[in-house]
Amino acid sequence: MNAPAYNFAYLDEQTKRMIRRAILKAIAIPGYQVPFASREMPMPYGWGTGGVQVTAAILGPADVLKVIDQGSDDTTNAISIRKFFAKTAGVATTTATEEATVIQTRHRIPEAALSENQVLVYQVPIPEPLRFLEPRETETRRMHALAEYGLMHVKLYEDIARFGHIATAYAYPVKVNARYVMDPSPTPKFDNPKMDNCPALQLFGAGREKRIYAIPPYTQVVSLDFEDHPFEPYRFNAPCALCGAEDSYLDEIVTDDKGSRMFVCSDTDYCEGRQAAGHHGSLSAAPYKDKAQGGANG
């Protein structure tokens, strides 16, 4: 299975060294986007080429890998990447957040608290938070260098002027270590507070844009806001229909063409863990063990 057709974790050692150097620099300057020589990966851009390269560079034989996509362990993207590393690195994989040492994620931070011996690797489509405000890359780099971030507030101002509140719901800009403004990748702003003072190392890889940035453990991460319009995490006001959780981020699932919908945890591992522990929601099938035979969908 682990045929030596590839080097360990697919990338060659020189490439991994190059990526590790970029990662070290990124950790040394929290929130700063470090350019790196992104490689072609055997997957299309937008599927996590940046995250995969970062994961490949930091993965060791003893690591346990978890991959999530929008909080879910069982989507195509998550399964493919998990299989990819199982095949090319022979590492153990898991869906349980607590067991994982490396978690590659797309658009979510797990609900379970992370620990010091874990690394969270984000897949990032657009690393530049100022991109849609200032199209010139030369100018945005200068703005980062001089910490000129007034423009970021212009965006938030526009939100309030137009919608009456800060309507940015994902990729909500944060200031890292009181210096660099950073795009937290398209995670929902519900997850922003989890980045602050997080015990786990957080690495961000953007493959197409060829940038790596990082938040070292226990680093201050502040969501930008106005004094009179403070940052507020958003969550649908409902319990999870399967596990009854009141504190998790929810996905809205349309269940028929008559407007019915259900809200379920977007973090599948968290939801399944709660169900296994005996928690029930309004639409959960009982008992939990029978779920595999179907009939759970209302």
């Binding site: 007034g150 423009l151 507030h153 212009v154 526009e158 002027a161 009179d228 319009h229």
Partner: protein, 265 residues
Amino acid sequence: MADPDLHENEEPLLVATSLSKSFGRIAACRDVSFALYPGEVLAIVGESGSGKSTLLQLLSGQLAASGGHVSYRMRDGVTRDLATLGEAERRFLFRTDWGFVHQDPAQGLRMAVSAGANVGERLMAVGWNHYGRIRDTASDWLTRVEIDVARIDDAPRTYSGGMRQRLQIARNLVTEPRLVFMDEPTGGLDVSVQARLLDLLRSLVAELHLAVIIVTHDLAVARLLSHRVMVMKGGRVIETGLTDQVLDDPREPYTQLLVSSILPP
């Protein structure tokens, strides 16, 4: 119009000393020296290609001079050579103590964001963090430049040319700069809109005690706004003096030509 007591007990705000700039063999600007005092309006006139815009860029630190230097008295009272300022300091100066009004408002405005955010941007850049106060200040400035406050949430691309120019002025003045550079602010506007804009500028300049360096080819604008006039030709300043003196009694043949080329009203 010039106030004789203007310079009595004040130090100059901006001093240019033998400024020159050449692009290869072309000397765009040669040996320009002058001092500008707080509250003074200086018009730089001349035909196209005479070096007016190059001079404006040299003075505002956007272009490095080939020779000579520009010094500016900062808000803390210390006069400093612009060339020695770091980029961060220069950019800070540019969005706080200075204003720059472009001929084409699209260059000076963010066309896709609302007027309120356009005016508020400088405030947010210097750390204002209270939406309500930013918005109040922006509405206040829109009123001052005669833009209907009801249009505060509209993007400037929906504005007329004259409104855009007035918005650009509000955006520049919101941080109460002491010096404003203007590059043909009335260019491309029709005559009645021009007159209204000039009227507005004149009252704002007086009210805020602004120093202005205005580049124009329109002598009427110079006459209406400025205290002093500098006439440029071929990169040199050929004549300088009080506005009425230069325009009513031009000494240099070129200035005489310039003045006589205006159609009589």
